[in-house]
Symmetry: C2
Subunit: 208 residues, 2 copies
Amino acid sequence: MSTAQETVGGEPQPWGEVTPDAARRLLVAAVEAFAERGYHATTTRDIAGRAGMSPAALYIHYKTKEELLHRISRIGHEKALEILRTAARRDGGATERLADAVSSFVRWHAGGRTTARVVQYELDSLGPDARAEILALRRQVDAEVRHIIEDGVAAGEFEVRDVHGTTLAVLSLCIDVARWFNVDGPRTPQEVGELYADLVLRMVGAAK
Amino acid sequence: MSTAQETVGGEPQPWGEVTPDAARRLLVAAVEAFAERGYHATTTRDIAGRAGMSPAALYIHYKTKEELLHRISRIGHEKALEILRTAARRDGGATERLADAVSSFVRWHAGGRTTARVVQYELDSLGPDARAEILALRRQVDAEVRHIIEDGVAAGEFEVRDVHGTTLAVLSLCIDVARWFNVDGPRTPQEVGELYADLVLRMVGAAK
DNA sequence: GTCCACGCTAAGCGCCCGCTCACCTTCGGC
DNA sequence: GCCGAAGGTGAGCGGGCGCTTAGCGTGGAC
């Protein structure tokens, strides 16, 4: 028996916190479908079909199609936030912490491209209440990166004119990876992460 | 009487090349609707309604709803390419040309945010043939930026390890502006353009 | 004045959508 | 062996979708 966050191999598995098993299969199917075709172009019949179930089965585990998107979006944003927090709170100077934050954030967007696409680009498909909840998580994401940059400026490691604008640009660069990254392309998530960390350090004027 | 590309004021106006007038009104309505809600969530009744016409009127000027998206996407990409080409071919060193390219490209994405959103994010809603045509335009966009960076490296103005990767990052930064830019926010398109041009020059290691 | 091409509308067709409902297993508790 | 809860299915409802068609108003050519 594995706990919610573990899998047979012992590694943490994506969506491990979603139970029961049928609910998780439906959610994984929804992530794939939403990432490929977009929320509005995906039908409940398509989601249920990918999970090997009848259309009606979806409504045993989720009240509406939108609830599926909401759950995906919240879990995804929490994971993104956790990744950035881990990097922000490690030991080391602002330079190391920013490089770590960018490279791990980029790896997540590239490696989990289907999830990241849904999380980053389907926000507007949520209703007002759900969107407001997710936007609060986004502000926390923004704050984590901004604090690292502020630390770097205060310590004299960085030279930045517009902290807010630069924070926006750093996040923007990372997030857009989900739009263009191709698993069959020439770069691995690891390589893109390293390249982007280097580019970001240049953007903030970190000493080489 | 104004020509296709002119308006009453003499300034070039967006979508001026689309005639007759009713076809242009439908197209402008479609751009707004697609940008707000996405292609699949937009109905033909919504588009026609915004243009002040009946649903059937759409099919006098366009064969399908997809043809509208195709036309918007092609014209938008051609405009984007023109902006980059103008910057790439002006006089001056690679540093000035890259700064000009980034700032004008960003201004276009911020100022014409509705159009840019449709152009950059609704590509996957096109059918295979239309998508292939648009992807060819995208490769030309990519090439324009890459050539400026290559020129800068050859002239010793830039110091770049991965030219292709850096090109991707520069375009990525510009394109993502269409996702987050808010007309009611604190920054004007002009300001974002200047900030981003500065950040990009740092990314390529241009001398200050 | 007549005519017809053009631009447009009202009505609606066929389809598929999100979602529901009545019913059918399967299985642990006793 | 019986029962209720949990989890599933097949059929289908109401509605809105993209798109079509028959017909109307109008303005320029002659």
